[in-house]
Symmetry: C2
Subunit: 337 residues, 2 copies
C-alpha cells in the first residue's frame, strides 16, 4: 500500500463542514475562525518505547495520542476545532493502522475535533499531533494567573496511570483484575475538555497534569510568581489505588501520586469565594474536584519551616497531617534526565 | 540538560506581539486571528535517514524543516502566522541544538513566522512541524481549481535537489564545486511564500512540488477533475544542472527533473489571458515562472495518442518536441513504495 492509498483508507474519517472548509488532501487545511474567538494551539509527540510500549493496543494508542493533546486544550478552557497527525511508521501493518485510526477517530468524534491534515512517512514509530481550538478573546486559562490566597484543586484521582505502568512492568504486585481496572487510566485517559471550558471565569490559573503534580504545580507557581502549600492528606486516590498500594507507606504512596505523571487531570487555582461553584461543577460532571492546598505569596512564612528555610525552599511545599513539610523523592518527569 | 532548560535555551527565540498573545511556555499558544481571514494549517514530519542524512549541517536542517512547511502555506497563498515544533532527540548534543535552532530561527525571522509552542522528547531523531497562516476568506489557492484551457506553470528550476542528492551519494559524477553550488537546493530550499501570496487572484489552482512534477501534477489534475499535457522541452533546468547532466540523454534528464522531488517550487495553473501578469510577477521576483503545459478536459483527444489510449492513460501526458507522448520511469516519490 502506498502513502496516498494509506491516507485515503485510514485517515479521511473527518468530513468538512462546521467551519472546516478544506480538510485532508490539499497542501493545507482551511478553517473559518469564529468571530470574537482566539486561536489556541498545542503539539505533542509520542515515541515508541518512551511514551508507549510496542505491543500496546493500537485502538487505545489512537485514543491516547489525541487525548493528551486535547488535555492541553482543556487546560486553556478551549473548544477543540481540529487536529493534524504526523505519523512515522516502520512498516504498513494493516491491522495496526485499522485499530489506531479507529481509536483516533473515536476520540475525534467524541470531542468534535476533526482530523484536518497531516503527513505520513516511513521511520521509527512516532506520532506527532497538533491540536487547534478556540476560546473567547482574553478568556483563556493560563498557568500564570494564580493569586495568593487562591485554593488549589485537582480533578479526578492521581497516580493511577503510574500504578498501572508499574503493574505492567511487574514492579508493583497487583491482581490481573486490578491491573485491567487501572490500565485505561494509562492507555486511554479521558481529557477534561468540557470541564476546562466550564472553568473559564472561575479558575484563576490552570494546566494539565502530564508530568506529575509536584513538578507541574511548581511550573504553575513559577509562571504565577507564587508559592504553593499542598495538604498531602487531602489528595484523593482511588479505591483501586488503595488496593494496589496496600503495602506502601504513606510517603511511598504520596511519591507515586504526586510525581507519577501521565494523569491528564486538570490542576487549577480559584478564589476561596468560589468553593460552592467548584463543588457544583464537581456534581455536574460527577468528577471529584479536590481542594489540595493553597496559593501563597512568594515571601510568605510557611507552616513548619523557618522563614529562612522557606525562602530557600522549592515553590511547592508538601505538608503532612501534622503540618510538617515532607520531601518527595522524584520532582517531575523530565524526558532528558 | 533537562527538557525544560533545553527549551528555555534553544527554543524561546520568538517574542509575543503581532497577534501572538501567548507563545512557548504555557499548555497552549494563543493567537488573535485577523478579521476577514481564514486559518490555514499544514504539518510535515522529517525523519533521519529518510528526509536527511545523520551528518547534515544542523543549521541547514533547521532551515529546511521550517521551509518545507512554509512551502505548503505558499501553495495556498497564505501569510505565515506561527509554527509549533515537536522534536525527538536521541541525545542532547549542544552543538547540534545550537546549529539547528539557529537555522530554524533564521527561517522563522525571514518569513515572520514565530515559534509558538511544541514538545521535546527522547527518541530517534524526528522533527515534526505544524505551520499556521491565514488567507483572506475564500481566496486560498487549492489543488482543485484548474480549468480546461489554463496554462500550467512552475516556479524556479526543477531537479537540482535530486541532482545534489545523487552527487552526495556518488551516483552522479560532478565536481565538488558544482556539488556545493547545488547543495543548498537540497539542504536549504527557499519556500516561495511571497510568490504564493501574489498568485492569489491570478492562479486558478496551486500546490507545492515536493514529490516531483509528474506525481504532484497528477494529484492536482485528480483534484481538479482534469488532465494535463506537459511540453517537456519547455521545462527549464538550470545551468548547473546542465553541467551535471552532460552525459545524460534527454529522457534520463527529464526523469530526474520531473520525478526527482524535493524541489519546493510552486506548480500552478492560470488562465491564458493572464500571461502578461504572470510574466510581470516573474520579473518582480526575479524568478523564472515557466509555462510548461496546459490543462485539458478529461475527455480531450491528446496529441500523439489515439483517443482510446488517451482515455486510458494517466492524468498527465509528457510530450517530446515532436509532440509524441513519452513514458517516465518513476511516477512520484512515495514514502511507502
Amino acid at each position: 500500500m502506498g502513502e496516498f492509498e494509506l491516507i485515503d483508507r485510514y485517515f479521511k474519517f473527518s468530513k468538512t463542514g462546521n467551519g472546516l472548509i478544506v480538510g485532508v488532501g490539499d497542501d493545507c487545511a482551511i478553517m473559518d475562525p469564529t468571530p470574537g474567538m482566539q486561536w489556541v494551539v498545542s503539539s505533542d509527540m509520542l515515541v515508541e518505547g518512551r511514551h508507549f510500549f510496542a505491543d500496546v493496543d493500537p485502538f487505545s494508542l489512537g485514543q491516547k495520542s489525541l487525548a493528551v493533546n486535547l488535555s492541553d486544550l482543556a487546560a486553556c478552557g478551549a473548544k477543540p476545532r481540529g487536529f493534524t497527525l504526523s505519523l512515522a511508521l516502520p512498516t504498513v501493518e494493516e491491522s495496526w493502522l485499522e485499530g489506531f485510526s479507529k481509536g483516533l477517530g473515536e476520540m475525534s468524534l467524541r470531542f468534535d475535533c476533526p482530523l484536518v491534515g497531516g503527513d505520513t512517512t516511513k521511520g521509527p514509530l512516532c506520532i506527532g499531533i497538533t491540536v487547534m481550538g478556540e476560546v473567547p478573546s482574553g478568556q483563556a486559562l493560563l498557568r500564570s494567573g494564580a493569586k495568593a490566597g487562591d485554593d488549589l484543586y485537582v480533578s479526578g484521582t492521581l497516580g493511577e496511570a503510574r500504578a498501572a505502568l508499574l503493574g505492567i512492568q511487574g514492579e508493583l504486585n497487583m491482581s490481573s483484575e486490578l491491573l485491567e481496572q487501572l490500565r485505561p487510566r494509562l492507555e486511554s485517559p479521558t481529557p477534561r475538555v468540557l470541564l476546562g471550558q466550564k472553568l473559564k471565569g472561575l479558575a484563576s490559573a490552570a494546566m494539565d497534569l502530564s508530568d506529575g503534580l509536584s513538578g507541574d504545580l511548581a511550573k504553575m507557581m513559577k509562571a504565577s510568581g507564587k508559592r504553593a502549600q499542598v495538604q498531602t492528606d487531602w489528595i484523593r486516590d482511588s479505591r483501586a489505588m488503595g488496593a494496589a498500594l496496600q503495602s506502601f507507606s504513606f510517603e511511598e504512596r504520596l511519591n507515586l501520586v504526586a510525581t507519577g505523571g501521565d494523569d491528564y487531570e486538570l490542576l487549577f487555582s480559584a478564589p476561596k469565594s468560589l468553593r460552592h461553584a467548584i463543588d457544583a461543577l464537581s456534581s455536574e460532571f460527577q468528577l471529584p474536584l479536590t481542594r489540595v492546598g493553597e496559593v501563597m505569596a512568594l515571601d510568605t512564612q510557611i507552616d513548619g519551616l523557618s522563614s529562612e528555610k522557606a525562602i530557600n525552599s522549592s515553590l511547592v511545599v508538601f505538608l503532612d497531617a501534622k503540618q510538617q513539610a515532607m520531601e518527595l523523592k522524584a520532582q517531575s518527569f523530565d524526558h532528558f534526565s
